[in-house]
């Protein structure tokens, strides 16, 4: 349950999610996944950008190995976050996975166009959700060699 990632340390995951229940379910699912994870959570797009840019109260924030992004949030939503990350040279290399309830075609296409690496529709039950999260982390933390952080 606590295998270290390909980098030899727990993976840093940033979860951008406004719903506390969904955040808790993601935390549990990540806890049941193969790799050890340090989970950081912010509740909207503005906070997410502050975290990534180490602004405000986030001066000590690590660079995340993976960003899990909800699409529908108040203030700055997931589409805007994708756009902002894509427009920032310092952040563009970060892998973003969209995690949402929306299976609308339009949302999927917009997200991919804006540069997300995967798009996961949250399954209606926890078992399938945990399986999806495990698959996701297995892929990102063992198989994929992440872009080097300079």
């Amino acid at each position: 349950m606590s295998t270290l990632s390909a980098r030899g340390r727990p993976a840093e995951v940033l979860l951008v999610e406004d719903n506390d229940d969904d955040a808790e379910l993601t935390r549990i699912a990540l806890g049941q996944a193969t790799f050890a994870v340090n989970l950081h959570r912010v509740t909207n797009g503005e906070e997410c950008m502050a975290f990534l840019r180490k602004e405000g109260g986030y001066s000590a924030a690590p660079v995340p190995d993976l960003i899990l992004l909800d699409l529908n949030m108040p203030r700055m939503d997931g589409r805007e976050v994708l756009h902002a990350i894509g427009a920032d040279d310092a952040l563009r290399h970060l892998p973003v996975v969209v995690l949402t309830t929306s299976a609308a075609d339009e949302d999927v296409i917009v997200s991919y166009r804006l540069g997300c690496r995967s798009y996961i529709v949250k399954p209606p039950d926890f078992g399938s959700f945990a399986k999806a999260i495990r698959g996701l982390t297995d892929y990102w933390f063992s198989l994929v060699v992440l872009a080097s952080r300079s």
Binding site: N19, D21, D22, L25, I28, N72, R79, E80, L82, H83, A84, T101, S102, E106, I109, V110, R113, L114, K122, P124, D125, F126, G127, F129
Partner: protein
Amino acid sequence: MNRAGVDPSDGAGARVRSYKNLVAASVLVPMLLFAVVAWEGYKDAMREAEQEVGRVADVLQGHALNVFETHQLVAQRVSDRILGMSWPDIERSGDIRAYLGKIRDEYQQIKGIWLADASGVVRNASEVLPPSPLSVADRDYFQALQVADAGTMIGHIVPGRVLKALNFNVARRRETQAGTFDGVVIVTAFPGYFTDFWNRIGPTGDIAAALARKDGAILARAPEMDRNVLRLPTDSPLREAIRRAERGRYRAVSTLDNKERLYAYRRVGEYDAYVGYGITVHHALSPWRSHLVRSGSAFAIASAALLLLSLGAQERARQEQQAIRQWQETAGKLREEVARRADAEADLRRSEERFHATVESAPSAIVMMDAGGKIVVSNAATEKLFDYSHDELLGQQIEVLMPDRFREEHRRHRFAYVEAPSARTMGAGRALYGRRKDGSELRIEVNVSPVETREGLFVLAAIADVTERTRQTEALRKANDALERSNIELQRFAYLASHDLQTPMRTVASFVELLGSTYGDKLDAQARDWIQRTIRATHHLQAMVRDVLEYSRVDSQARPFEPVELRQVYDHALLLLEAAIREAAGEVSCGELPLVMGDRAQLVQLMVNLMGNALKYRSADPPRIRVSAERKDTEWQVAVSDNGIGIPLRYHERIFEIFERLHDERDRPGTGIGLAVCRRVVHRHGGRIWVESEPGKGSTFHFTIPEGTVNAS
């Protein structure tokens, strides 16, 4: 006649003069009466026409609001679709072009969709753009949206550069993340969509309706607009009325055809658009005119007869005058006195007869009561309306014609009325009811007017039966309202169901599942069973919400009808059900199937649901399903029959209701949506659906689908 000096026949001369007065009165009195009747009728006809114009204006306003809301919804959808895309991306994207084209095809009220950047250059559109850049920088909506987010802007009408017709545009602002102006999304509307609707509901050939902005720019007009007049003049009555209030009525002479019309106008929701509707005064007054001709001829005949009588009397009096010239002055005076009395009585009798004849022949119900409320006169129309005989009504209190619950109140009103009598319409603004002899009720309208006579005050009441009119108006208005609302409500509901309900349900399902998997070993069997039940119920609930969404989509995602080969629909359904058929070792066949007009995707859904049910509710034998069609009059009747478990007769209707289930959830899982969706699809196609079945003998589901062209709903 010698007027100089003392004439012994002076009394007879006075009598001749009084006959002259009578001759004048026999013409003037009926004319005056006729004028009064005509004037009252005129006022009624105008009031009726004003209400009618107002009702039609309400319908036009509802329709226009629906259209503009659709435009706004589409502009928002398109804005969301291109959110975050750069203009070069938008310009290159074939997907976007296809997307815009698809939306344009979906909505009849939309002629084109255009995406213009911050400099006004159109970068992509549902239409094929000309090789040279097309700019909307000179358009009023563009200039307004450039300055600020003014919401949904309606542009003035212009000859389109690509679409080559008079159109107008509905536009919304697109912004960068920083909130600066980044172009506009334009949806092209066309006036014909409005005028078609108006011509459908208005009187043929004589409709006057217009859709205009507050600044007078005309957006649509019937009869068809003049390309050179795209704006109402500053002093046009409609513009003046709009400046005063957002809705109202006025009367004006059209500069187009010099006809005087009654107009009503309404603002279209919060949009800068006003819809006005008018009917000619000539048209409004036509029932009044024909009534006038009828009563006019009656008056004329009465008047002519009276005139002849008077002239005859005058002639006789003149002869008499010759004879009595010789008489003594005293005798003449005496004679004069006697004659005058006789004349007065005859006059009175004649006027009374005239009054009765007029009342009796009137087409509407008229009763007259004395100051104490006793009926003294009633006509045939009254007796017919309330189903009484003449004798039964005379002498009764007027309250006999009302339901019990209104009688006491009416008595009080009547006492008050006698104190201050005036002509008025009873029960201003309230529904009035009458009561027939058998106790049944009817909606009425009553106009009362006081009649002062030497014998005291009488009250004349004219009663009109408005039951049918009230019911029809009400039904029409309700149906119309419901129709207009349903589209937008369905879309909102679908959104709610798909997003807002699913999130909390997912939370409940997930945490209960976690409770079971994490603490299951610390709980006893009872607790674990309860957790399992909760999980099952939650999953069922999730499935139901998904199904409601699907059910609502039958209307919200509807496509226009096209010719569809039912055989292809059957093949498609077979493909989708392949696994289920193989698993059940089923045998499926079909006869010759017709070409119908319909929505292909929905017909496939219908076929999958019916054939899927046949597989699901199979008996112990391998399922055998047969699809066939036969023509019945002007429609096709399609049958899907199986050898399944069958359905008891008492459920034959209920199975088509949403969430109505026959079987135990554990036995045959499902939410009970399939047949409800089937029924909705069939109804949308203008057909019927029913089942013939007996337990143990299989089921045959029939549905009809009209042949030929069917209008999409």
